[in-house]
């Protein structure tokens, strides 16, 4: 009898913007709070990030268990409010990896056409 391999849950499907968000959070490292995340995406992708979309997507990623967040101490420069720092969970890392892999695999053989410059 074929033993049933324990089914690992497939990595969560993430949308394009969520993908970008997770990458940006990884890039920011321990400084991954909302302001630099948004700045980084805007700087690197050249597209404007609406605040509403940013918070909504972060909330959704956290809800899916792909991110965790913690609050800093209140800061004067923020009018006495705390920063919210984000860290990807291992499921989050898996999801990014899966998405990246999909992109890379699907791009194979198209290097000349796509002419991706980093």
């Amino acid at each position: 009898m074929r033993s049933m391999a324990k089914a690992t849950p497939p990595p969560s499907y993430i949308g394009e913007f969520e993908h970008l968000l997770l990458l940006a959070i990884l890039q920011c490292g321990d400084q991954a709070y909302t302001v630099p995340i948004r700045r980084l995406i805007e700087a690197r992708t050249g597209r404007r990030v609406a605040r509403g979309a940013l918070y909504t997507s972060l909330e959704r990623l956290e809800g899916k268990g792909l991110l965790t967040s913690r609050l800093s101490a209140p800061m004067a420069v923020r009018g006495g409010r705390a920063r919210r720092y984000f860290t990807p969970t291992s499921a989050g890392l898996d999801a990014v990896r899966a998405a990246q892999t999909a992109v890379v695999r699907l791009s194979q053989g198209l290097e000349t056409l796509l002419d991706v410059r980093l």
Binding site: V35, Y55, L58, E59, A76, R78, R84
Partner: protein, 896 residues
């Protein structure tokens, strides 16, 4: 460390409010703040402010549109769609409705434009009158802490005027005893002759107690104000100059302090200069201390205006209670106190504002409201017409399952869009109205209306306009919206919206609006007619004297240089002689008070044989005149003789009295030869009546034909000398010559109010003409709006009946028949409107008769003429579409 910059407050508040339920609230606010701080460093405060506002705007838009659930409320569960919150859905749908409505009006710019213009007119005039209420009645004074100021008065119930009513004895007593106030001050009108290197000038001045300045929180720009030590006779020769007088007469000389100037012939030391713009009481250009000697301090004659400031935490009711107690003790202790007087405590503003002002403003507001109602009826009509045209569209929507509420909301959005468009235009109308009003008021009179210069578009006006626009839009839109949302779906769809059946109630409502418009326009027209006739009669009608060709010049003889009666008599006589020598002057005369003057003189009289009742004295207008004064003004002598040069013996005083005085005091008998004396100066003896002259109108707001006595100035020399000169040519051209004639008698005496009698009359009736002018504008607006409304209703009525008219014409009706049918319909509507309007007009006329002190009298002929004019306008307005209808080609109309 640099301090954290504060973002714009309003935007900040908005953000906190919008995010109040969001768990992301602190994060979002913190982010925006942090980035704002960076923006300030990078781009400066101002640009960062704009940046901040843009961020908040985007967040609010996200919040309202529901695009970003995270900033709305609650955590979004993964994979569970967030159910739309009904509030947001409502907002979204409503925004959608608004966009649709705006698009609809862009497609029909003419109809939209007419509605916006109509609303703007109606709202604009209301906003302007609101501004007058707000500025002239609610806060006419820009004094800090004005809420704690009160005016004290001492008067009888018959004389409600609180100013100039308090006696020195009362004021000093109150100031000593009252605990509820921390400051109490009094002042007395005291215009002065200012002499100096330049030509002498009459300057508006006041005698004030030292505490008046701190009471109104005034500070000197130079030097000091008065102290309690200055309120002592002998130490009171000090003067504070206003900024305007200091600039005009003293060339802004900073060394003016300590200089001695001559006021009324006496030396005063300049101790201070007020700040620019400070002029309290209104119009004051100089202030001297209010000082009483022992005798004056006991005087029970009321002439002071008394103000006080409540201690912090004390109320006006406490002040009333305390003052009533003090006054009761005072009356009990002093036998000379007037028994019929009572002490009253009012708010400062209530005391300062002219007693007639609220009534006049109420009249204007009523008129403006009528204009708005008519405008509203017009707009409702046009919206109803739009609803009628859109019946088919609405029927389709209803048939497809749209709720009625949804349709009503859609139609309401129509009117809201119009209101939002009309509000800025209304502010424009208000701005123009206020500009015109301000320009129409002569500078000389502005000083009598506190706050007049502050009229203009302000925050209150903007808020009012917006609120009124919204309110009007909802009310005006509600009826047509409710009506249009209930078409009979099957009928409309089956008949393509052409039959009359669905439109029956519709057009009944529209006809109702037309009747209403006429009913509202009629009282307004009658009111403007009444005030125009009243103003015309007072400004241009018979005055009892002939103002044409007369020049007047005023001067006041100061006590210091003209203490004796002889000196004053000689001055007046020499002035008449000097003026009579001027080429072009036919007759010259003097009087102590003139008609159309800003002040009056009156004396209590005691009739020979009638016991004098000090509680109910007989007050009579008093004029001390030169022998040829009556002749110069052409006041006719009706019986007996005029005054003569020979009437100068102090032992045998004589008088000419007005017809009204004769008929009031000696109604049954011949007044000639009767005697009376002046109650305050009985030692001057009995005055014998030698002649009766015609009545004059002295002032438009006094009732006419006041009893008046003319006594020879030679027997009763007065300090007030007003020269009148009847001239053969243009009286205005003789002004320099008459000034010179005055200077020839005494170069220290300033000439003031140098103007023709016609100009004086014009200035005196400016208030009345102002009321009439504004009422005429309202009446004109009402007429135009009503005409437009009737035209619009008839036009769409005809358009809806084209088919029927075509049938009638095809079946042999003549064009004349059709014209008769349509005009007859308009005629019946006008008649109904006129009938209701006449009832309203009668009520408004009653209000005006009481508001305008008997100047207007409701004349049935005016009612009739106005009704006919309005009905005629209505019929003419209906003629154009009716004639259009008769040109319907039956063949074309039937095929439609």
């Amino acid at each position: 460390m640099t301090p954290t910059p504060r973002p714009p407050r309003l935007a900040d508040w908005l953000l906190r409010h919008v995010l109040r339920h969001s768990p992301w609230r602190d994060t979002v606010i913190g982010d925006v703040r942090e980035e704002f701080a960076a923006e300030v460093l990078a781009r400066g405060r101002v640009r960062a402010g704009f940046w901040y506002a843009r961020q908040i705007g985007a967040l609010v838009a996200d919040r309202l549109s529901g695009a970003a659930p995270a900033i709305r409320s609650g955590f979004a569960r993964p994979d569970v769609p967030v159910p739309p919150v009904s509030g947001d859905r409502f907002v979204r749908i409503f925004l959608h409705d608004l966009r649709l409505a705006a698009r609809g009006f862009r497609r029909q710019p003419l109809a939209g434009g007419v509605i916006v213009a109509t609303l703007a007119l109606g709202l604009g005039v209301n906003a302007a009158i609101f501004n007058m209420f707000d500025v002239l009645l609610v806060h006419p004074f820009s004094i800090r802490g004005v809420d704690r100021l009160v005016m004290l008065s001492e008067n009888s119930a018959e004389d409600p005027e609180p100013q100039e009513s308090v006696s020195p004895a009362s004021f000093l007593e109150w100031r000593k005893q009252a605990q509820v106030f921390d400051l109490m001050a009094a002042y007395d009108w005291a215009d002065r002759n200012l002499a100096g290197a330049r030509e002498p000038e009459r300057v508006a001045g006041f005698r004030v107690s030292a505490d008046l300045f701190p009471l109104v929180e005034a500070t000197p720009a130079l030097g000091t104000f008065f102290t309690a030590d200055d309120e002592v006779v002998g130490h009171d020769r000090k003067v504070v100059l206003s900024d305007s007088l200091w600039r005009r007469r003293f060339a802004s000389d900073p060394t003016v302090l300590g200089r001695v100037i001559r006021l009324d012939g006496e030396p005063y030391v300049v101790v201070g200069v007020g700040t620019a713009g400070f002029s309290f009481p209104e119009g004051a250009e100089l202030w001297t201390p209010l000082a009483f000697d022992a005798k004056a301090a006991e005087s029970r004659t009321g002439f002071l205006t008394a103000l006080a400031r409540l201690r912090p935490g004390r109320t006006i009711d406490e002040a009333r209670a305390e003052m009533v107690g003090i006054y009761a003790r005072e009356k009990a202790a002093s036998p000379s106190a007037n028994r019929s007087h009572d002490v009253r405590v009012r708010t400062f503003i209530a005391g300062m504002v002219d007693v007639g002002m609220p009534t006049i403003l109420a009249l204007w507001q009523a008129a403006a409201l009528l204009v708005l109602l008519i405008a509203g009826a017009n707009v409702a009509n046009l919206l109803l017409a739009r609803g009628a045209e859109r019946q088919r569209e609405l029927a389709v929507r209803l048939a497809l399952g749209a709720g009625r509420w949804r349709i009503v909301r859609h139609l309401l959005a129509d009117s809201l869009v119009l209101a939002v468009a009309a509000a800025p235009a209304a502010v424009g109308v208000a701005w123009i109205t206020l500009r015109v009003c301000k320009a129409a008021m002569p500078a000389a009179l502005v000083r009598f209306v506190a706050g007049w210069n502050n009229l203009g578009v302000d925050g209150h006006l903007l808020l009012f306009t917006l609120a009124a626009a919204m309110g009007t839009a909802v009310i005006v839109g509600l009826m047509p919206a409710a009506r249009s949302s209930r078409p009979d779906v099957t009928t409309v769809l089956r008949d393509g919206g052409r039959t009359g059946t669905a439109g029956v109630t519709h057009s009944r409502m529209r006809r109702g609006f037309v009747v209403g418009e006429i009913a509202l326009a009629l009282p307004l027209l009658v009111a403007s007619g009444l005030s125009a006739i009243g103003a015309g009669r007072f400004a241009g009608g018979p005055q009892g004297y002939d103002p044409a060709g007369v020049l007047r010049v005023s001067t006041v003889l100061p006590e210091a240089t003209y203490a004796s009666g002889d000196a004053r008599r000689q001055f007046a006589e020499r002035l008449v002689e000097s003026a009579a020598r001027v080429p072009g002057v036919i007759i010259a005369g003097t009087a102590s008070s003139l008609p159309a003057n800003s002040s009056n003189q009156s004396r209590d009289v005691e009739l020979d044989g009638v016991p004098f009742d000090p509680q109910h004295p007989l007050a009579v207008n008093y004029r001390a005149v030169s022998p040829r004064y009556l002749e110069a003004l052409r006041i006719p002598i009706l019986r007996g003789r005029g005054l003569a040069d020979a009437d100068r013996e102090p032992g045998q005083p004589v008088a000419v009295i007005s017809r009204s005085m004769a008929s009031r005091f000696w109604p049954a008998k011949d007044a000639i030869g009767r005697r009376f004396r002046l109650a305050r100066t009985p030692e001057r003896g009995w005055v014998t009546v030698v002649g009766i002259c015609g009545d004059t109108i002295d002032d438009w707001f006094d009732s006419r034909n006041e009893p008046t006595m003319y006594l020879p100035a030679a027997q009763m020399p007065d300090a007030h000398v007003n020269l009148v000169a009847r001239t053969s040519g243009d009286p205005a051209s003789l002004a320099p010559a008459l000034r010179a004639a005055l200077a020839a008698v005494d170069p220290e005496q300033p000439a003031f109010q140098v103007m023709t009698m016609e100009e004086a009359l014009r200035q005196r009736t400016i208030g009345l003409r102002f009321i009439a002018g504004l009422m005429a504008v309202f009446g004109g607006l009402a007429l135009v709006l009503a005409a437009v409304g009737i035209y619009a209703v008839m036009a769409s009525y005809v358009a809806q009946r084209r088919h029927e008219i075509g049938i009638r014409l095809a079946l042999g009706a003549s064009r004349r028949d059709v014209l008769q049918l349509l005009v007859g319909q308009a005629g019946r509507l006008s008649m109904a409107g006129v009938a209701i309007g006449l009832v309203l007009a009668a009520a408004l006329a009653k209000l005006m008769e009481s508001a305008l002190f008997g100047i207007v009298s409701a004349d049935p002929r005016l009612f009739a003429a106005t009704a006919i004019a309005l009905a005629a306008t209505a019929i003419v307005a209906s003629l154009i579409p009716a004639r259009h209808a008769t040109r319907v080609d039956p063949a074309v109309a039937l095929r439609e």
